[in-house]
Amino acid sequence: MISANLSAIFYLVSGVLFILALRGLSSPETSRQGNFFGILGMVIAITVTFLSTDNFSTGFIFVIIFILAGGSIGAFIAYRIPMTAMPELVAGFHSLVGLAAVFVAISAFLNPEAFNLGTQGNIKLGSLIEMSIGAAVGAITFSGSVIAFLKLQGIMSGSPITFKGQHPLNAIILISIIVLIYLLCTTQSSNLFWILLVVSFLIGFLLIIPIGGADMPVVISMLNSYSGWAAAGIGFTLENTALIITGALVGSSGAILSYIMCKGMNRSFFNVILGGFGATDETSGEKNKEQRPVKSGNADDAAFLMKNASSVIIVPGYGMAVAQAQHALREMVDTLKKNDIKVSYAIHPVAGRMPGHMNVLLAEANVPYDEVFELEEINNDFANADVAFVIGANDVTNPVAKTDPQSPIYGMPVLDVEKCKSVLFVKRSLSPGYAGIDNDLFYKENTLMLFADAKKMTEDITKNL
């Protein structure tokens, strides 16, 4: 058994290694080293925990068994999961962190002696506050992530579920959580602890159901943040530096990602959380549904346009992920490059279902990351490009966001696709995108609509090049 001071120092070391793990992600070259630091930090934390316990009883064997069991499940999932399913995976993983936090809190509540927190029914006040906050946030993370997972997986409809009195109900529940924590701390009643957990599970569920599919980038980031705060709460209870540092890191990381995502949609955080976006303006979309002429073409026309271009910008969106078209797309680009055509990729911050979703898919298809650009890096280049190839994106290219103050997406940063000499728009139909509004781009003089499945169309174009 090593001394408490020594183990505290090791926990600090592993906290610092976690900071370095995140720091590594500032560029792809250093990122792999960063991941290694993260693993090292974790190994140190677990080893120190083993060494600081003097209980090498048979229970120890079970600890190893459970680690190996969980670890093999995790490793299996990590190797098998397709890259397109990354948002679901991350949502699923968040739910596990939340649930683990809840379980640790329950365990500490039932057996406070093991954690030096006092005795049952007489837990130190500070620890009890920290524990109940950790448990409540963990429970919210769990049930919220489960809903996010079900929505992303398509088991549950991605459209917002709203009902009358939703917001007052949520407000009442949130207030009751605070009241419950207060009562729990004054009475130490275990019944209140269980009620607190149930109510927290409930609010996590209610908070996420009104949020629609395309707002998922915000939701996932937010749940990421919550899982961090839950870990920090438990870290305070256990007086563990590694857990406190990590919780703070993850909490602020998720908060920043939520902020970036909200900005990408020009919506306030509260607007997203209150939910129900997209369901409201179906009527306004209905009234100007008079038939406007669109030009539609086939793979042959598209190939002809691109062959005569000298530069092409590709705008991928969630549709590309759904159609699994990233590999076909890269083959098309390879053919274009053989013909000395300059190709780059333009990624909108909220393209896809989670932050960085498109970048991962393109990387999977062996697209070099220095050909992929963010919105502000590439937006001026559209005016000089010959062809914009929009594949599976919609609202993020809609010029209405710049021109029509009445539009629900007005003010959202969009890619200036319409400035290209010609626009190729791969889409299955003319149906409006998530925001429920028509895309003016469809009707522009220089737009050619390619009505087909993204993957099939891309393959056909390659054949015709």
Binding site: L25, L99, S253, P355, G356
Partner: protein
């Protein structure tokens, strides 16, 4: 008067939030997905709490209500640790630079 150790932990917490803030802003947007999977993996350091909970039984009763929750939490956190780091590794291995010799 002595300072409550809680204040020190609170200081660590607040300073870490600031460290996190600046470190995460420097993460390149193209790596935001690996950022989420790696933060997910490191937040599973909560496993240290789970291990203490799992070992809380004595040698006669390895399994009591408290330690069972500990064991379950160990399994959940382990899924996350292995799954999170490995999937991050898998993603990061895909990010390649343009080959110059082409």
């Amino acid at each position: 008067m002595e300072i409550d150790p809680l204040i020190f932990r609170l200081s660590i917490f607040i300073l870490s939030i600031f460290v996190g803030y600046y470190v995460v802003w420097s993460v390149t947007p193209s790596l935001h997905t690996p950022l989420m999977s790696v933060t997910n993996a490191i937040s599973s350091v909560i496993i240290v709490g789970a291990i203490i909970a799992g070992l809380s039984g004595n040698s006669n009763t390895i399994f009591n209500t408290s330690s069972i929750f500990g064991f379950l939490a160990i399994a959940l956190a382990a899924i996350n640790i292995f799954g999170g780091f490995l999937v991050t590794q898998r993603m990061l291995a895909m990010y390649k630079k343009k080959k110059k010799d082409k």
